[in-house]
Symmetry: C3
Subunit: 417 residues, 3 copies
């Protein structure tokens, strides 16, 4: 390949990397907006640490588990040693990926993805998990579990061999994060006062502007998440992915708008915001093989799923403050299956692969996450004290307020009157 084309490809992959990076701000803002004021510092702290942990562990082990040079169990598991080892010299770095990007680009783009999976969990377990337990969970999960299942497909493992199609990670990233979230929530239990004898008490988030900011930034970053998954700057491929991604997100907003208005008779902003995310998660598996019209259909359905799924989980007393399981798990599975239903790859055979692919990865992830969280539960504990939950984690775990104290004080004084 000529130097200019290689350079253009690599520029695009680095831009995509930057876009995926800013999704971590998107997640931070979304989750912060959807929790109560008293737990805001805690969620920001978790998110600042997760991107840090994600990158460091992916450097330490994850990258070499996900893309192993040699495999211990063929198609299932491999590990090529700690740290990074660039192929010899600049020439090696360039030769590495056959025209798309350098060795370093590959690592940093994939590293940004890795941390995402753990971030998904942080929203679902918000407002009641012990900080240290969560940080340990996130570290082990992103260092070992995420790259193992990632290897099955993107690392050339057994699901790749069988034709499982997951373009940018509806399953590999989003459903994986979603399963881990579900396992954690089941072990953790609901927030105090959420499910009462008199029914479900909504606990609204403390800042809708923060939540909206988060969703717009996630959409923004998703152009890199999906667009970068082309793994080159191929003009037709990347631009088609832009179109399908944007239209699915737009249709997701619309689907959530219609269904939530039908169900609740109000214009629910949080549903529309999660509808956008649902549409994005839904198109992620097949963004490269859909027509614009098919992308709209997939997004519309994903958006429509959101309010239904939120109600479903709430009825089962599965308490997820930000709706992460609905967005990432349910729409992640939907998007993976949609590849078998619509678009260039549709067909019964494909649908079957998509189904067992997403289930296999889900099963592994759920068992891993459940076991890990369970060990933490019976050892150092995973849930804060009732008193800490009441006071808020900002004070209990950080001894800080998220906002200026006299306002906190004003609100508190009035609320206790």
């Amino acid at each position: 390949m000529n130097e200019a084309l290689f350079t253009a490809n690599n520029v695009w992959m680095l831009v995509a990397t930057v876009l995926v990076f800013i999704m971590h701000l998107g997640f931070s803002a979304l989750e912060a907006g959807f929790v109560q004021r008293k737990n805001t510092v805690n969620i920001l702290f978790k998110n600042a640490m997760i991107i840090s942990i994600g990158l460091l562990t992916y450097f330490a082990m994850g990258f070499n588990i996900m893309y192993p040079a040699s495999e211990l169990i063929s198609g299932w598991f491999g590990f090529s040693g700690f740290g990074l080892s660039m192929p010899e010299g600049d020439a090696g770095a360039i030769a590495y990926a056959d025209g798309g990007y350098t060795y370093w680009t590959d690592f940093i783009f994939q590293g940004m993805f890795a941390a995402t999976a753990a971030t998904i969990v942080s929203g679902a377990v918000a407002e009641r998990i012990k900080l240290n337990s969560f940080l340990i969970f996130a570290t082990v999960f992103v260092m070992i579990s995420y790259p193992i299942t990632g290897m099955w497909k993107w690392g050339g493992g057994w699901l790749e061999t069988r034709g499982f199609h997951d373009f940018a990670g509806s399953t590999l990233v989003h459903a994986v994060g979603g399963w881990a979230a579900l396992a954690s929530v089941l072990l953790l239990g609901a927030r105090k006062g959420k499910y009462t004898r008199n029914g479900i008490k909504p606990i609204p988030g403390h800042s809708m502007p923060l939540a909206a900011l988060g969703v717009f930034l996630l959409w923004f970053g998703w152009f890199g998440f999906n667009g970068g998954s082309v793994l080159s700057a191929n003009p037709v491929a990347v631009s088609l992915v832009f179109v399908t991604t944007a239209l699915a997100a737009a249709a997701g907003a619309f689907g959530a708008f219609i269904v939530s208005y039908s169900l609740f008779k109000s214009h629910d902003l949080s549903m529309v915001l999660n509808g956008i995310l649902g549409g994005l998660v839904g198109i992620t598996a097949g963004a490269d093989v859909m027509t614009p019209m098919q992308a709209i259909l997939i997004g519309l359905i994903a958006g429509a799923i959101i309010p239904l799924s939120v109600v479903f989980f709430d009825k089962r007393k599965i308490d997820d403050p930000v709706g992460a399981t609905s967005v990432h798990l349910v729409c992640g599975i939907w998007g993976t299956l949609a590849v078998g239903l619509f678009g260039a790859k549709a067909g019964l055979g494909q649908l079957w692969v998509q189904l067992y692919g997403t289930l296999a990865i889900g099963l592994f992830t759920f068992v891993f996450a459940f076991s890990l969280m369970y060990i933490l539960k019976i050892t150092i504990g995973i849930r804060v004290s009732e008193e800490a939950e009441e006071k808020g984690l900002d004070i209990a775990e950080h001894d800080m307020h998220a906002y200026e104290a006299n306002l906190e004080q004003a609100a508190y004084n009035l609320s206790v009157k």
Copy 2:
């Protein structure tokens, strides 16, 4: 053209697309910051839906009205059918735009622009318009009116033929949005309590950090808005546009700073923020044909216009909570005319074309928007009840608070004492 250059061009156009996308977050934050607390959810909801509506309607019809394959009324109107129809195969997508970008890139870049025009309206009508009426207005406006006038110039219509110059849309996007805003505000009337017997009562926005965030993001996105309007990655052309755009924005801040300090004897943050936007709108028509010094002059004047225009509209009891008419309409016209006054195209003949071009587009847009809003007014109504306006649209239309309720409560309790 060789593959590498085409790829580099297309990468730039996609990056520009992403940058224009994030302007929608910029508008959301700016408008949310400039409205009262009690209408924050409403404005965020509108903005989340507008980007969704903008993309879906541009897919459905807009793109094929703006760039019609065949014309019904030569130079004035055409329509090439619903939905997208990519030229045959990958080769077709590449051949499409003669070296700059693919068919998909063209659609998604232009689609991001389309939604912008409707977003401009949402700020001006904030705090009192009925949500459903606004959504219908935005849908029809962005689906039909915006692409028709867009076609006159960018679609190769009659204004293109006569040499009207509007590089990135001082008129085609910003003044168009501004005229629609003005028509809407005239039919809607001012917010309750704004213009009283004792004079004009300022209704300050509820969050200056949100407003500032919005302006910085808009400036950020404008590098894609103007830089992408080169329609390729031509190094000299794009980098000159970056320089003129940045310097005009900087000068806009300065112009607004000086004039507003002279007028009001205080350092008014909202004037400086709108001054930046005024500078950006002003340079948009001629960002490709100005020297840096000319760009500074255009921005300086645009910034200086802002405080004067805000006072002008307020004296006429035209109530625009975010100053959208001053920024987008007045500075949009200024920028369009400036192409006839300064730079490579300056001249009396050009000035005349600029004048009747912006007036023709303004006339069509104003009549269209006024008629559409008028029909909504006499049918389903466009204004919320006095009670809803008093309580705030967040509760009246969404049954939600933007911020945690106990604080709302605290503020409310104290304010009613």
Copy 3:
């Protein structure tokens, strides 16, 4: 060089420019979050004006001082006239930088850097400096002092000749801003009530979400700050810089986490956020010559320095509300020296050059900034009245509230009870 490669290089440099631009929003949000509510408008106003002043003065003089065509004092000072003068025609603009980018790109990329140095000061002097004095200081500092020391290295001056290595500006941008901040703080004194007989009274920032938003945006922008400093899109070089930059930031969070937990026994969000920034500042001088492992080490130490440095300055009653001196000055020096300790350039000779290079630039900057601020102090004054400080600068200097007034009122009423 062929057209396609030149275009790809230039695209990357423009993307980097946009990323550096958004760092100004990062600084605005960070500083706004770390100050008290009552000074929020003031800090936003300063930051909006600084980017404007930075670009306009860099256009007027700075660029031609930093990269002079001819030198008055060889290696130390030159000036090639006011304003920009592009080499003849498009060909001149292209030929200008030998393959990496056009003349315009060079100016706008460097211009974004210039404003950064002044922004660093604004955080340190927040909550008590007179607005006009600060604006004058920033104008003169960024127009004259920053480009003079910049010329010593990046403009081909005496430090370049001696092999001083400062890849993207640990010293040239960050320590320079830090020294100016230190000089200003020494002349300005601490905020009222910070250092009392009973010890140091913490004055917490008013919004941790804003501060976190700022740090994520700064990290985001740093990929352009460091990545763009390659001055081309060279795939191996830029992608290595991405890896070292990201890992140093991640390690910085970790270093600050560990040390601050050891010292204070709490999970301090502001330390972790500043730890990320410390890691970024630390890697900036050597991002091109470190291995990933060395980058982690540099970042880890930089992060560990943050809490120690904050305590150090506080003990000496040097009051810096946002920790700018710790982040930019201390970690800037650390990063500069680290080039002599680790990586491809390490060695005693290099360490010696790094040491006197950073000291020489520091000395010049400190003397310049101190003198300038001192002149302002004895003429128009630099500190607001005690009453203004008490009331807050938003009301005293801007006659505005940052947030909706009834809430302000609520808080105020309760706090005075």
